[in-house]
């Protein structure tokens, strides 16, 4: 599934996110003024308007808010079936990623499932995927 997976174009704003997994840790942009998270990353805080934001490491623990098993062949890099999910980060339920849940029995998926980040490196990008948290089954 790695053949020609679409990858993000890295920029000064998003590079920290897409390369964060190089040390196995997940980071999101956070406002130094009001402490709100800023995802997707952008140069100003959505909550207070401040422009002083910096990447901050999170635990990598998240909760599944929605999931789907995709059966439709949309792209040659993604042979179905595969699991797509929206997960909310443990630090703030408002910070979400659309991602894939890997190493999971499809019958075990549910809204509220705890998952942990695992990175898949492709070229210069570390893609954050998630798998069931071992300590919450």
């Amino acid at each position: 599934m790695t053949a020609n997976r679409p990858l993000p174009l890295l920029s000064d704003v998003n590079r920290f996110f897409w390369t964060s997994g190089s040390d196995g840790r997940l980071r999101f942009l956070r406002c130094r003024e009001c402490r709100a998270w800023a995802h997707p990353p952008q140069p100003a805080c959505r909550s207070c308007g401040a422009t002083d934001l910096a990447p901050e490491t999170v635990s990598g623990r998240a909760k599944v808010l929605g999931w789907t098993i995709n059966h439709q062949p949309w792209h040659p890099a993604f042979p179905p079936p595969y699991v797509i999910a929206v997960v909310a980060m443990a630090e703030d339920e408002g910070v979400r990623l659309t991602t894939n849940i890997v190493d999971v029995d499809h019958e075990q998926l549910f809204v509220g499932m705890e998952v942990d980040v695992v990175f898949h490196q492709d070229d210069d990008v570390w893609i954050p995927l998630f798998r069931p948290a071992e300590d919450s089954q």
């Binding site: 990858l7 949309w74 040659p76 990623l97 995927l129």
Partner: protein
């Protein structure tokens, strides 16, 4: 004088081209057919048209069959030099070009706006299957919103909205059979509409056993990509004596945004971007949800329709499943007849303009075999969601 811009305008004409999975004609020829039909319907000539609106207009990147072009293409095709025009990919649902037109007419910039929605998604998909145009996510590194979806194979609204549907099902106990009631209702209405694409009877067994697209969505939860064009004319109310037939009134619009413009960073219990316009429309009218005689609610997927039913207040949040269950309440002779021409699920994905067309047809008692009985007075259309939504509340001419 009303203080609502909506009351300065009427919807004076509608026209539709041939519609099909693939219509073997140039999409601009279909535009011309729809425009001619709308002008004839209104009793107007092309020379009367002094405004032009469309969506999404010209798109960067692969066109996806979602647009045949914008103002450049349409003014050249029709030989028009309008006083006012707009084409926007980011507007108030698929109803945006109508709402923009109403504002321009009310503001005095023009008197008759031709509003056009044209798509050739059916033909485009065939080209994609043949490898003649690239698939979504193709064509190099991803920027903007696509970078947050494409690296995970989350290529389609079918994937994004399926995740809200899953949340709704697990939070409120909504079932596939309840979603199926929306698909079966659409098909039953389409069977009574000779212009609909899919008219063969659809049973719950057919629905449940169809191939899966993105769970919980199967084939019949998804609308039908097609080729086809709809044109609507928005005119100043002072021109009504010039028209061939009584027009339809625009009672109110819903345009507000009340949540983040995102498929995944906001609500998970409904399709994003429906709550704002749904709440807004009721602040601009004395009418209430109970006054609506017939509803055309955007049904790109069955679940979108459920989201709109809840957001618009036809039932409580989370109660959409029981509301549609069995389909009686939403049938042609039910308390809220829904998507009476077959909706996008069976009539074809005319990107909101098919629903607007049908709302007007119903208020003229012109629906033939799919006409709601009892001379409906109030017709509601919701369009979009996911990307911003927009609502039109229409009433019979009085």
């Amino acid at each position: 004088m009303s203080d609502r811009f909506e009351h300065d305008v009427v919807l004076s004409g509608i026209g539709k081209s041939a519609v099909g999975r693939r219509v073997d004609r140039d999409p601009l020829a279909l535009v011309r057919d729809a425009v001619d039909a709308a002008l004839a319907d209104a009793g107007l000539a092309l020379a009367d048209i002094d405004g032009l609106s469309t969506a999404p207009g010209p798109l960067a990147g692969p066109p996806m069959g979602y647009s045949v072009g914008g103002i450049e293409t349409l003014t050249e095709l029709l030989g028009l030099q309008p006083t006012w025009f707009t084409a926007s990919p980011e507007t108030m649902g698929h109803a945006g070009p109508i709402i923009d037109a109403a504002l321009a007419v009310s503001g005095g910039l023009c008197r008759h706006v031709l509003s056009i929605r044209a798509q050739w998604e059916g033909s485009h998909r065939k080209l994609m299957a043949e490898g003649a145009v690239p698939p979504p996510g193709g064509g190099g590194r991803q920027t903007g919103r696509s970078q947050w979806h494409s690296p995970f194979g989350a290529m389609s609204p079918a994937n994004w909205i399926a995740m809200q549907a899953t949340n709704h099902m697990e939070t409120f106990g909504t079932t596939r059979e309840q979603l199926g009631a929306i698909a079966l209702n659409a098909r039953a209405n389409a069977a009574r509409n000779p212009d609909a694409i899919y008219r063969d009877p659809l049973t719950m067994d057919d629905y449940l056993s169809a191939r899966l697209v993105s769970t919980p969505f199967g084939l019949y939860d998804c609308d039908v990509p097609c080729d086809g064009v709809v044109a609507v004319i928005v005119s100043h109310v002072d021109t009504v004596p010039d028209l061939r037939q009584p027009p339809v009134r625009l009672e109110a619009v819903g345009t507000a945004m009340s949540e983040r413009f995102s498929w995944d960073q906001g609500t998970m219990i409904h399709e994003p971007m429906v709550a704002g316009p749904a709440a807004h429309v009721w602040t601009r009218t004395d009418l209430k949800p109970a006054d609506v005689d017939v509803a055309q609610l955007y049904d790109g997927f069955t679940f979108n329709c459920l989201s709109w039913l809840e957001a618009l207040g036809f039932c409580e949040i989370g109660e959409g499943g029981p509301f549609v269950e069995g389909g009686h309440r939403i049938s042609l002779d039910g308390e809220l007849p829904l998507n009476t021409s077959g909706g996008q699920l069976s009539e074809g994905r005319l990107n909101g303009f098919g629903l607007i067309h049908e709302a007007i047809v119903q208020l003229r008692d012109a629906g033939g075999d799919h006409q709601v009985p009892g001379h409906p007075e109030v017709s509601l259309v919701s369009t979009g969601g996911g990307h911003p939504g927009g609502v039109l509340l229409l009433t019979r001419w009085r």
